[in-house]
Structure formats: C-alpha cells, structure tokens
C-alpha cells in the first residue's frame, strides 16, 4: 500500500465518521415534511447530503424504534409506500440537536 493510498483511506474513514452524525440531523430535518423513502433519498441528495439506501433505511428504522419518527403505509400512484414524518419527540430532539450543532459550528469557526 502506497502512502498516498493510506492517506486517502484515512481521510475517507474520517470523512464518513464526520458525515455519519450529520446524517441523522439531515434526515430528521428533512422529515419535518412527510416523505417516503425514495423521495427522502432524492431530497437529501439534491441538498448535497447523498445517502445510499443501505444506510438510509436501517437508519429510518432505528429512528422509528427510538420513537423519533412515525411511519405509515399508504397507497400513492397505485402503489403502497411507507411515509415517514417527525414525531413530537423527534421535533423536540431535532431542536436540541440543531442548537448543539450550531454551538459546535460556532466553536469550530472560532478555532479555524
């Protein structure tokens, strides 16, 4: 393995780690408006927060089991789709997380 490759791998690992936490915030924020999985994935991608389906759906399930999201199967365009939206608890957590994120952002801006 060349030093360049190793450096690239290290950067990639750290970048993914950095994005992982932000993704929860992005998903919660996007689900203030009810959406189903596919449109949510497109919304996130259009906003520059692309997430692959193998990560998104398990994350949605985890957030739902933590009672931050509510979901419901409904027919749309002759097909059954699972729609997700933020729960009351989710809204409260999102508010706190956003405050925390803004505080981290302000601290980092001060240091950089």
């Amino acid at each position: 393995m060349t030093p360049g490759t190793s450096n690239h791998d290290l950067f990639e690992n750290l970048r993914l780690e950095l994005r992982r936490g932000s993704l929860v915030l992005a998903v919660l924020a996007a689900l203030r408006k009810e959406q189903y999985g596919y449109t949510l994935r497109k919304t996130l991608s259009e906003q520059g927060m692309a997430i692959d389906e193998g990560t998104l759906y398990p994350l949605l399930r985890r957030l739902e089991s933590q009672k931050l999201l509510l979901s419901e199967w409904r027919e749309e365009e002759k097909r059954n789709k699972r729609f997700y939206r933020l729960s009351a608890e989710g809204k409260s957590i999102l508010k706190q997380l956003l405050a925390e994120w803004q505080s981290i952002n302000a601290s980092l801006n001060g240091m950089l």
Partner: protein, 353 residues
C-alpha cells in the same frame, strides 16, 4: 421484473424473520421507484442488463440484509475472523453441529451408565472438550475463510442461484408471500458449495475413523470396536459420498440441471436404502474390543445397549431416506414448474397484515 424478485428473495432469506416482510416491502418499493424513474427518463422499459446494473449498485444481498440486522456481533481474536454479516449463520451452524455431537456423546454415556459401566468425570470432560475443540475449530475455519472471501470480493455475486448468489441456507418462512413468479428452477450455487465442503469433511472423517475409532465411539473406543459389517459397507459409503461431490460440482457449473439433481437424488437415496438394509440385517454394529475383548461377558450389557441405540438410529435413517425417496420420485413425475402459468412478473410485494 424477474431479476428484482430474485434479488428481493435473496435479501429476504438473510433477514430476521420478524422484520423480513416489512423490510422487503419497503426495499421493493424503493428499487421499483428507481427503475421506474430510469424508465421514464429513457422513455422505454429497462433491459435486463440495465435492471441488473441497478441491482448491482444496491450491492450483495447478504451485505444489504446485514445492514438491517441489529445483531452486529463479530468473532475476533486480535483481528476479526468473522464479521457481522456471517456471524448469525456461524452461530446457527455451530449450535446445530455442537447440539448433534453432544447428543451422540450423551447417548454413549447414557448407554455406559445404564449398563453399569463406571463413568469418570474426566472422561466426560475430555470427550466434551475434544468435540468442542474439533467442531469449533472446523466451523470457525470454514466461516473465517468465507468471510475473508466476502470482504475481498463483495461484488462477486450473481442471481443465477435459486435464492441469489451468496446464500447460506436460511429457510424462508412459508407465510411470506413475495409474489415471486415460478422462474426457471435452479440449484443454488451456495448449496452446491456447502455440499462439496460437507462431503469433503465427511470423506476425511471416514478415512480417519478407521484409524481413530474414538472419532465415532468417543471414550467407549477403549473397550468397543466396530463390527465387521461396517468394513463391508465402507466402500459403498465412500463411493456414495464421492458421487455426491461429483454431482455438486456438476450442479455448481450447471445450476440449471435440476432434473439431473433430482434423478441423482433418487439414485443416491435408493443406494442409501440398500446400505441401510444390509446394516440393519447385520444385527450387531459394535463388539467388545481392546482391553474388553478378553472379558467380553462383562461388557455384554454395554454392547447390547449401544447396539440398540444404533439399531433405532439406522431404522430412523432408513425411514427418512425412504420418505425422501418417495418425495423425489413424486417431484420427478410432476410436470415441471416452468410449464405452469405464472402470475404477473411485475406484481408488487403483497401487503402484510
């Protein structure tokens, strides 16, 4: 969308039963949405190659299913040997093997106990530990090799097997209706690989058991030995095992040769029944040996009880083999599934309760 249905089936098989239907419905909806969007962009239906491209981008069905599992345990000694993808299958296989082995050990010790033979704690412990060591070592080695292969080549999978490319033999629940059309029947390649490995291990064991009878008799090997009938059926048993390996290799190359497998199965079950007949007819399968040979009368009761256990096991094996033979023959006589009418290939996943 036959390919999509096969892909979903492969993912479904590796998912926990409780969440399976719900996850598959959602995954199905997501993939169909993506395919439909591509079709509306192109203004035509996707070709099979394009559909495969979409599925390839989704990734190996085993890895996709693993992301949904909450059980992310691994096996590691310094470095990781078995990752979270294969760990549940590893535990399942190990539990089955150890359960079976300990049932055999328990039967032997019970036979010894009932016949009044003194059983020392040390002999029980050494037998259990030896089997634990052998089973744990063999199963861990095979799974860690498969895990390394999977980590090295995550994209090396296909949908040509009945349940998708990489498949570890988890039974799909009957109550899940995935509306999968009866596509061309195929022999799963993972089934074929599993049979090749299992038969190769069995061949090795058959070779070694002649030299080391404790592999089958456990601690009783000190005063028991196998009756001559086993040496008479030894070659046919080896031949049947080799034939099964050859059959699995052929089906690995030609998974569409399902009729060949069915015909072979009828032949192998028939041959197995003939071997079972000669074995049952022999009436005695172990005799006093080693230090006990000179005091055969003292060990007569032990020999009788062990022989009774073997008798019931052989009868059970023969009955199971006969039932399998009837099922295989009936399947051969039935018209092939491919000729029957099939439901709409593009039908969505059925809604659950």
């Amino acid at each position: 969308m036959e390919l999509l249905d096969r892909y979903l089936k492969a993912v479904a098989k590796a998912l926990p039963a409780a969440q399976r239907e719900d996850i598959i419905r959602e995954l199905s909806e997501d993939i169909r949405s993506e395919m439909e969007e591509k079709e509306s962009q192109l203004g035509r239906e996707l070709t099979e190659a394009e559909q495969e491209g979409v599925l390839r981008q989704r990734g190996n069905p085993l890895l996709v299913a693993a992301r949904y599992r909450q059980d992310q345990r691994t096996l590691a000694f310094g470095r990781q040997l078995i990752g979270p993808v294969l760990f549940p299958f590893y535990i399942r296989v190990l539990s089955f093997n150890l359960g079976l082995t300990f049932a055999v050990i328990l039967t032997i010790f019970m036979a010894l106990g009932v016949s009044g033979h003194p059983i020392g704690f040390n002999s029980i412990l050494s037998s259990v530990l030896l089997q634990l060591f052998i089973q744990l070592g063999a199963v861990t080695l095979i799974f860690s090799l498969v895990d390394r292969h999977l980590a090295k080549h995550p994209d090396r999978w296909d949908l040509s097997g009945q349940g998708g490319g990489l498949w570890c033999g988890v039974k799909i629940e009957k109550n899940i209706d995935l509306h999968i059309p009866p596509d061309t029947p195929r022999v799963s390649r993972i089934d074929s690989v599993s049979i090749i490995i299992a038969c190769a291990v069995a061949l090795l064991w058959l070779t070694e058991v002649k030299t080391y009878p404790f592999l089958i008799l456990g601690p009783a090997a000190a005063f028991l030995k196998l009756a001559p009938i086993w040496y008479q059926v030894y070659f046919p048993i080896v031949l049947l095992t080799v034939a099964e390996i050859v059959r699995a290799i052929i089906n690995l190359v030609r998974p569409d040769w399902t009729r060949f497998r069915a015909i072979f199965s009828v032949f192998s079950h028939s041959a197995g029944l003939v071997v079972a007949y000669f074995l049952i007819r022999a009436g005695s399968w172990v005799v006093a040996g080693g230090s006990a040979a000179e005091h055969a009368e003292d060990y007569a009761r032990t020999v009788e009880i062990v022989n009774q256990c073997i008798y019931y096991s052989l009868v059970l094996a023969a009955v199971l083999s006969a039932v399998m033979l009837v099922i295989r023959v009936a399947a051969l006589l039935r018209p092939s599934r491919g000729q029957a009418g099939s439901p709409s290939a593009g039908a969505p996943v059925k809604e659950g309760n």
